[in-house]
Amino acid sequence: MTTKTDFLNGNVACAEGAIAAGCRFFAGYPITPSTEIAERMAARLPKIGGTFVQMEDELGSVAAIIGGSWAGARTMTATSGPGFSLMMENIGYAAMTETPIVIVNVQRGGPSTGQPTKAAQGDMLQCRYGSHGDYSIIALSPSSVQEMFDLTVKAFNLADRFRTPVFLMTDETIGHMREKVNLHSDVEIIPRRELKEGELPCAPDENGVPGFATFGNGHNIHITGLTHGENGYPSTDSAEVHEHLVRRQVRKIEDFRNEITDVDVINPDAELVFISYGAPTRTVRQLMADVPDIYGHLNLRIVWPFPDESLLAFRNAKAFIIPEMNLGQIAKEVRQYTNVPIVIVPKLGGALHTPEELKKAVEVAKTVTKPVTEVCL
């Protein structure tokens, strides 16, 4: 394995991670702040036998990458908030047809056009629940440029293993900042399991995931977004078939959520514990370095499915402090799994939290009694 060290911005590192993971088809639409990913893929893919296409809108982008995935390639697209909202219909289609795709969302201030050049984390609940109906997805959240590279590789492996859309939820700060990054050429690639002869196209194996019937390999299957039986044929009248299908698609990920956990548990005996993901993790790390050994930290690299068992590692926790660049989206999820009081530290407008602001939150957390308290910065 060769490792090239470079000084790149987060978006470019993400594109390089995708290429290292074997992504050979990218369909995208330009949107600030994710355009650098598309531009890097446009420059790199034709030279390595891949294909880049700029589609006419984000709906077309997701449609094209789903089609490309069925033709057998690892595919990716990148967007931000307004484009993400447009993609929801086809994300639901990918979830229903169990198509592995990777979508990078470099979040920016919202709602609507918002602040295109400022960071935010406002799409965290949308990536889990944005499309209609019940389904489950996997979302990762990098907090550094190196993680943009590593987690993109991981995203492709998870997508192929679970046959689901996987989201890389980053933000404008991580996307545009430049840091030293080690670009490994030889990363672990775990490809999708091909459908075997005699197996039904939508019949699950022992992990709940069916084999993948790549187009052109003679499987001759029919793939549809309608509710379908194990042979793939539409079956819109049967309540039993529908319930069985939807529950299996949700369970295939949710049942494994504590197995695919990727978290940092630091200082599990602490009483005041920070829970963070993405850019605010950088501030928490700074605070922990300034004031060592007092606070605990749970850094989530995989945010969805939510790793609830990691919360149990903090046995002495008296308060969970959750800094987010939104009005408390993941805090809602933490609340479901614990009775420990939660202190949310929302910060909008694009700037990262500062260590002083987190210290202010700590002061509030020391005397908190209500289940959820908001710290106004």
Partner: protein, 264 residues
């Protein structure tokens, strides 16, 4: 492969209404594919949502039944990753020109090597008979109970203007010509757009005094004007009578296509 092998026999008889033109178009398409001698594993059928788009589920090779209007975008992805695949897209008038209008004009502009069969029954059939952008002026539908007050699209002119390499229109009455047009569509590299005017006796016909399939087929036989005749009339100064439409091959050109492997 025999013709019967191209049908997904365990899903027949299909769900279409009595007299629906979709069954005819499916027959013509599969005849064209069989005449060309394609192998099952190198042919893919992709469709959107609607009565027209159910056709992909009745073919026995790999098929992708996608979301409303987006079939061309999915097909772009499949074709660019596997340029050797013969990809045919079934779409409808609403699927293609209403919700899918943007993808339609861009697929034509990009000239991606697909064959698009647009089954134009001038109505939204599956949802019960609402007006579509191709419903003729004055026609009655459930959302235009006082007659359609909007002008319809001429899908062939749209495809031509957007840059498709092959554009043709036939009806579900002209089955031999339609089969030939689809065959040529596969042979021509670049986007081939074949519009098929078909009958929907259940939704369109019943509200517009053509309740039987045979009445609508009669209407196509009367009102379809072959392109050669229309060109002769135009040269003589006569314009097309209202209610009539031109059928035939409109465009065949060789602009550079996308999604075709360059010969090394």
């Amino acid at each position: 492969m025999n013709l019967e092998d191209w049908y997904r026999q365990d899903r027949l008889p299909h769900i279409y209404c009595p007299g629906c033109g979709n069954g005819t178009v499916l027959n013509c398409t599969l005849r064209a594919v069989q005449e060309l001698g394609f192998k099952q594993e190198e042919t893919t059928f992709i469709s959107g949502i609607g009565c027209s788009s159910r056709a992909s589920g009745y073919t026995s090779s790999d098929s992708l039944h996608t979301t409303h209007g987006r079939a061309l975008a999915f097909a772009t992805g499949v074709k660019l990753v596997k340029p050797h695949q013969h990809v045919l897209v079934f779409t409808g008038d609403g699927d293609c020109s209403a919700i899918g209008g943007n993808h339609f004009i861009h697929a034509c502009r990009r000239n991606i090597d697909l064959t698009v069969v647009c089954i134009n029954n001038s109505i939204y059939g599956m949802t019960g008979g609402q007006g579509s952008p191709c419903t003729p002026y004055g026609a009655i539908t459930t959302t235009t109970p006082y007659g359609m007050h909007e002008q319809p699209f001429d899908l062939c002119k749209l495809a031509d203007a957007a840059g498709a390499n092959y554009v043709a229109r036939w009806t579900s009455f002209h089955v031999k010509e339609l089969t030939e047009a689809i065959r040529v569509g596969f042979e021509v590299q670049g986007l081939s757009f074949i519009e098929v005017m078909t009958q929907c006796p259940t939704s369109f016909g019943s509200k517009n005094k053509m309740r039987l399939a045979t009445q609508m087929i009669d209407m196509f036989r009367e009102n379809a004007v072959l392109k050669v005749k229309a060109d002769r009339d135009a040269a003589a100064g006569k314009s097309l009578e209202p209610g009539k439409f031109i059928v035939g091959e409109f465009v065949r050109r060789h602009n550079p296509p996308l999604g075709v492997e360059e010969s090394k």
